[in-house]
Symmetry: C2
DNA sequence: CTAATATTCGACCCGTAGTTCGAATAATCG
DNA sequence: CGATTATTCGAACTACGGGTCGAATATTAG
């Protein structure tokens, strides 16, 4: 006959431990990649025995996915609101980029991983994994904003995917290039985009 | 007492077989990545026995490196001439991009691999591998052109690395997005850059 | 043709690393 | 306090895959 309060605490502790494992995993995955990361090392870094990891996760793959899902989901949650805000496409687009930059500052390692891993590790299996759905959703929203913005003359008259690519590279650079800068990018983003979006 | 003519033929055949192996390796590496690619599969795809691969290469790693070196080296060779042509930075920059687009059309799979692999597989070991040197050299030349171009007001007044990043994304998109287009990009490049470089 | 050399290859070897086991310890309940 | 359940963990298991071996075949030399 289990005690409810105790049960809650236990489940909280369980979640906290999962979080610790994910934190360690992030470190190792970032440095070594999915294949290069060894379970033993993740265990060592996160301070648990190897078998304990399997008490909280069913496989290395699941740890990896949980990490990405966690990241993309929370990112999506934050951006969703902005996306439906009803501003002009260009304004919305810029707001979203700003928000992303802001979030990046709250957990740099995580987002560096999020924006690096996808290309590298998008092989068949992952293709249909849950996190990929949120990544795609975000991608799609941004693409639609660009398309609408082009219609309205708010963006250059180019193939939308190209603008997307260019923005991607640019934004990635802006947010991740500076090693020291931790307070990024309010007007910087504006300025940069203004420069390139004409 | 070996026969000279025969020796030449042999070495040519040897090179040809290495080429075949690399071709097969490219297919598999592109699809599966460095870790995901199994030697057995490369052997099967390129039509040799597994052990034969080791008769021509000393390791999987070497096959991978040979592939990248081959690509980056030939790319560099072609671009070097243009780089020292003495045109204005912006004109030189554009010429180089044009040239790259042209080369991509001669061996799309190879260049898709070249431009995809680097980020994914730049972990310690590869860091100092030979191909990386050529990749860096090319990167450096392009960066310098951008820097000089900014001085002359031929590029937007932005952090050079950002322009580089944006150009990278943009160019990558332009060259690799269109599935069908095999004759790319002469004036297209001009137009696209004009659009974004102001 | 025969000897020597070059090439090919599947079967095997063996280290690595993901996963599981079983025992030991800690926490909770009645 | 036992008894039951939750948690931890290193040792052991096992599959996989890079790399090697030795025999077989083809090629060249003389």
């Amino acid at each position: 006959m289990p005690n409810t309060a105790t049960l809650n605490r236990k489940s909280a502790e369980r979640a906290a431990r999962q979080e610790l494992i994910l934190q360690g995993a992030l470190t190792v995955f970032k440095e070594k990649g999915l294949e290069g990361a060894k379970i033993d090392e993740i265990a060592r870094v996160s301070g648990f025995g190897k078998a304990t990891l399997y008490y909280y996760f069913t496989s290395k793959e699941e740890i990896f996915s949980a990490l990405l899902l966690h990241g993309w989901l929370s990112l999506w949650r934050e951006l969703e609101e902005i996306a439906v805000g009803g501003d002009s496409p260009r304004a919305t687009f810029i707001s979203m980029l700003k928000k992303i930059a802001e979030l990046v500052n709250t957990d740099r390692p995580l987002y560096e991983f999020l924006f690096q891993a996808p290309q590298s590790y998008t092989r068949e299996e992952n293709e249909r994994s849950e996190w990929k759905a949120y990544q795609n959703r975000l991608y799609k929203v941004l693409m639609e904003l660009i398309e609408q913005g082009i219609q309205l003359g708010e963006f250059p008259q180019m193939e939308p995917r190209l603008i997307m690519k260019a923005m991607g590279g640019l934004f990635h650079g802006l947010v991740f290039l500076g090693k020291d800068r931790d307070t990024i990018t309010e007007n910087e983003i504006e300025e940069m985009l203004g420069n390139l979006l004409g």
